[in-house]
Amino acid sequence: MDNMPGKSFVVTSGKGGVGKTTITSNLGTALALRNKKVCVVDADIGLRNLDVVMGLETRVVFDLVQVIDGECRLKQALIKHKRAEGLFLLPASQTRSKEAISPEQMKVLIEKLKEEELFDYVLVDCPAGIEHGFRNAIAGADEALIVTTPEVSAIRDADRIIGLLQAAEMYDPKLIINRLSLEMVKRKDMMDKEDIIDILAIELIGVIPEDEQIIVSTNVGEPIVLTDSSKSSAAFKRIARRIEGETVPIFGETEQDGLFTRLKKLLGFDRKEQQNV
């Protein structure tokens, strides 16, 4: 295990506001909780957010652009998380623009994180849009995680991103559906995960349920997987397990079923269905 090369992921969506930063921070934390060395990289240069969401804002001294420009060493810019062992943040610059770095430089940086700093996982938080910042963010990534919400516009942009990733020879992105409300799906007021997969036709790696607690956690700068055992926290942990190659159902039992179904399962009336999950 120790000799396995690290893996880099870009968390991307095209559309803004679908939860890339929240997912990057929570997924990074969830992987760190599994005793992995994880670096989350904020590639949104000029609109720095990841440090705030992770509660590390006050500790930022050096940033990614300064590392690339040689103004500081990579190690100096890495910020250790206070509560999650093995979790580090490489913050973005707030004052520079996305054009300050090139995809080639970004590629070298991510390689360094994996090979010299020996990170098991590098998660790159991609800016919204499909321009220079997007090309920077995907440059060093081995794999892509596409984030969408169950909205037509977010799905349309995710589809565009999948096409652009194909053009950049990244063929097998995984899908995370964020903010799915099972109640609304049941009322047929929201697209279900099947409808979304039908359009995007890529592999689903996780569904994060709509959860008010997330807003609270991002505001206080504490990743929800650290503080809480809520639905969304469990969903992030399951994605982390899937990234590590475990076979885990998309939904946990408590989210999937109503009380009656759970009772049936408990009493053993429902074994067949359980196996099919």
Binding site: I130, E131, V152, R160, I199, A201
Partner: protein, 231 residues
Amino acid sequence: MLRRKPGAIEIKGFGNDVFIILNNEASFSDIESDLINRLEKSKSFLAGIEIVLDTKDRILSLEELKKLRTILSEKFDIKIAFVRASSNETKEAVEQIGWKIEILNQESGKMADEEETRTIIIRQTIRSGQKVSYPGNVVIIGDVNPGGEIEAAGDIMVFGKLRGIAHAGINGDNSSEIIALGIAPLQLRIAGIIRRSPDSNSETDYVPEVAKIKDGNIVIENLDKSRRGDG
């Protein structure tokens, strides 16, 4: 939707041919740098193949052509099938450098006929922002997603769900048809006629259907019925 900034060059595929098109407005130095940039990105699938260089109305000197040759042949191992040029100066320079000039247009009628019977088969989902444009028939094995576009001089067939925009008969052929295993597109166009999808977003049952022009309108019919009617 964000519009892509027009680059100094464009790389496009038409059937088996890859075109590198030089933008009339761009400076030669922009063309050089854009060419290197773009080829760098797609060198894995362009290396060793033959391309068509479309110089549009640009006047290229022998010097400039030699520079392009250095980039294309020496740096990226790309061969030139022929050069498309409208300016006589460029044509002369192309002949001096030893590349072939495209012979066309004089007998364009014949050329067009041949092209319209040609068919391209594409085995992938056409996603938002992707566009297929072909001077013949287009067969897609996969879906056409919202925001994706297909343009064909002839017919369009989609072995999947058509949810984007399809334009058959772009050169004005009224008899062109659009066939898909499910039609719920944003827009259908056949020759000069446009039909957009109804605003009410009713649940669509995906069944094989054909869109064609009848009495000056685009109608969509169940594929089975339509064929029975013909027989």
